[in-house]
Symmetry: C2
Subunit: 277 residues, 2 copies
């Protein structure tokens, strides 16, 4: 089964376009789980969050940086976290990888084979050949950074580019490239931040058929209804709304997992309400 | 001491602009060192290469991907490798990182503090705020990908951009941004592939004062004399010519370290000869 089919199945089963970001921040882990600097505490935390939310999400997305910050034991915790997620729910490794030749092959082998993630996020700057070891895996997926949610994302992404006779911002040219990669490989998705709903609508218009991962609702301030409306495809799906901090740190006491279940439920439902507008 | 001062000191002490890439490929490790899939074999290999070349280089550059491919034990091997390098030689972690906010902070803490690397390579696509946790470390350095050595690097990097009244390829706009980051933070360097000597000369003209890391001589086919001539700054230095496979896999028998010492010596001397042209 392709990533797209697995994503759609999970999304329909749970009635959800919500993706939960598993980003363990030592400053915010519930203290009763154990020492915050111990990677086993991370696994205990993730296990509880996954058990509390696995019927509410279409995907999970751990960010590599938070795990590498724990050193070798963090990588172990990341691999263990992946194993704790029910196999029918796709898991996107947010690694923002972008390298070349042999090195890309080494990364793809680690992320897709050894660690068994279903998808990765990638930097487009080095071009198609740098991404081919990821794109060419028919049963996995690649989410290309197009317009990121951070305040300074316009620094390069909004630069005006003249290409193929058109003059438009770089992020739209990247979206056009990704569409071409989709035609060639069939495994491509996009990343557009919820903090830029107008740009999300432009990207959706350019790429009517690609899944779009949308981080930045909640803590980063993206407006949910505007985001969902801007990102939906013609079938009324095609987006993964990622929330991390707002969901996983909803509580800090012994009931933290129930608190995160409550926030995840509300968010899933609010997304679905926005879909029906 | 700043990274620039440490780099200059190492370069002058060893009379060298050669940077050796420590990229352990399981298919090419000498078999007598142990099982190729055991990260301890990687450490034994790196130890021998470092001992054989530490008086011939201005820096080392391990690429994160080759270590992550070994899983948690690979991260341990990477940290151990860093410790094996004499403290007076700067070590650049080729992580090609680019993330935002809290995640960038987590990466910077891992790479600079916990693992104690002197510099990292970064993707510019997400803009200045995404790089600030790296750039703001006065005693470390950040090498920004400008024009990469892979065949498809032109895919985005050569797109024509109109910015500040000028129309020119994206990679030159990235170089202009990096120059501004250098003015603000004082910790910035660039990456330009040896496979593009003309573009290297353009970047050098634009950024007369920034160190440029130049991968892609040897295995990737870059011409050494053209590269050195194009990249030197006014002082006749300012470049780090990176070689990995050509040096570290010069031999595969019990004398592999001596073979790599010989190639590294020849390469250092050839670079110095090209400097004097």
């Amino acid at each position: 089964m392709s990533f797209r089919e697995r994503l759609q199945a999970a999304s329909e089963r749970n009635g959800s376009l919500l993706c939960v970001g598993l980003d363990p921040d030592p400053a915010r882990l519930p203290s009763h789980l154990g020492p915050a600097d111990d990677a086993r505490t991370v696994v205990a935390f993730n296990r509880a969050i996954i058990e509390a939310t696995a019927d509410l999400v279409c995907a999970y997305k751990p960010n590599l940086g938070f795990y590498l910050a724990y050193g070798p034991a963090g990588v172990e915790a990341l691999i263990e976290t992946r194993r704790l997620i029910p196999p029918e729910i796709p898991v996107i490794l947010d690694a923002k990888v972008g390298d070349l030749g042999n090195t890309s092959i080494a990364y793809a082998r680690a992320y897709f084979e050894a660690w068994d993630f279903d998808a990765v996020t990638v930097h487009p700057y080095m071009g198609e050949d740098s991404l081919e070891p990821f794109l060419s895996r028919a049963d996995r997926a690649v989410f290309v950074l197009v317009k990121t949610s951070n305040p300074g994302s316009g620094d390069l992404q909004d630069l005006l580019v003249t290409d193929d006779g058109a003059t438009e911002p770089l992020y739209l040219r990247v979206a056009a490239r990704a569409r071409r990669w989709q035609e060639r490989f069939g495994t491509c998705g996009l990343v557009v931040g919820a903090t830029y709903p107008r740009q999300l609508a432009e990207v959706r218009e350019r790429c009517p058929d690609l899944p779009i991962l949308v981080p930045g609702v909640g803590a980063q301030g993206g407006d949910l209804t505007a985001t969902v409306q801007a990102g939906l495809d013609e079938s009324g799906a095609g987006i993964l709304i990622n929330a991390a901090r707002g969901v996983i740190y909803a509580g800090s006491g012994p009931d933290f997992a129930e608190a995160s279940r409550q926030v995840a439920t509300d968010l899933r439902d609010a997304i679905n309400q926005a879909r029906r507008r």
